[in-house]
Subunit: 188 residues, 2 copies
């Protein structure tokens, strides 16, 4: 069984995924995906982390071409897609983000979960988990949301927070992290 966790920035989706994997004894794939892509594709880990699930913050077009007109964003997407398919083939796991719900859409053994929370909850969580930086938490969240929605739309042609893409959507701000873990476990 494979569980994909698509999550809003600051919603605690990653923590939920980790706790769930630990509880179930499932493999947990998050930074592991970055490492394996780096190994297989030659992209730098920092580049993958920055551009692997959010549209670019530096390119006006949102996606990145090199000087020869080659589309690096697409190349990264394909590398990522291949790694996610390989990891899914290994068996029981929890996969965080990176359009994994869409990438694994033809498998029958996948439960797709979307974690979201209201803006205030995410603001507090972003500061407490990631700390302060030069940008106000409002700006950080709005920027991340915009880039993540654009990335998801571009590579999946789906709407990001559309309940119909997932079997289970949970408001972690209201329900709490541990309750979300329990509900996903029960839904399986």
């Amino acid at each position: 069984m494979i569980i994909t966790i698509t999550r809003e920035f600051g919603s605690g989706g990653r923590t939920i995924a980790k706790k769930l994997a630990d509880k179930l004894g499932y493999a947990y794939y998050d930074y592991e995906i970055v490492q394996q892509i780096a190994q297989e594709s030659g992209f730098a880990k920092e580049y993958i982390e920055e551009n692997g699930e959010d549209a670019s913050s530096t390119s006006t077009f949102g996606f990145i071409w090199n000087n020869y007109g080659y589309n690096l964003s697409d190349e990264l997407y394909v590398a990522q897609r291949n790694v996610i398919c390989e990891l899914a083939d290994k068996g029981n796991c929890v996969i965080v983000g990176r359009c994994s719900d869409y990438i694994l859409r033809d498998r029958k053994d996948v439960l797709n979960v979307f974690i979201h929370a209201d803006f205030e909850y995410r603001k507090n969580r972003v500061v407490s988990v990631y700390g302060q930086n030069e940008f106000a938490p409002d700006k950080r969240i709005k920027d991340k949301d915009k880039r993540r929605i654009a990335y998801y739309k571009y590579y999946t042609d789906r709407k990001w927070a559309d309940a119909k893409n997932y079997q289970l959507c949970l408001d972690s701000g209201v329900l709490g992290i541990d309750k979300c873990v329990e509900l996903i476990e029960k839904a399986m």
Copy 2:
């Protein structure tokens, strides 16, 4: 505690709501709302059923004015809103549809649930539950979806299937009716 169930036509959301209310010993408001609105407003029950949560199928504008330019759709919405607020004040209950999630948005004791399912599941269910009629199930579902989405958008200015409007969204086609009841109970 109040639970609102917003549901796609044919998803089994009404059955889930009824089972949940029975299990919890909560009041269940669905046709009761229609009866009370009829009593308080003078609208015919059939009119309320036809126009209380779906945009009109007969008016080109989707909403209905009488010959004096009076907006009947708005009048029905207000009557409905008042009845839903009154029922919510009575205590523990499950309320089906009619923008109740939006109407009760300022209360702190509400759990908003969205039930959806894929098209094939809903097609089969519509025929088995409501029987055949002169229209093919495809057409019936598409028509209902369109009218319900338009109604919800008009009166709430929200997107119908947006996960962020609900604390819990469930795919009844994949999870099954009874599992949905259990998950809602657990989320409370």
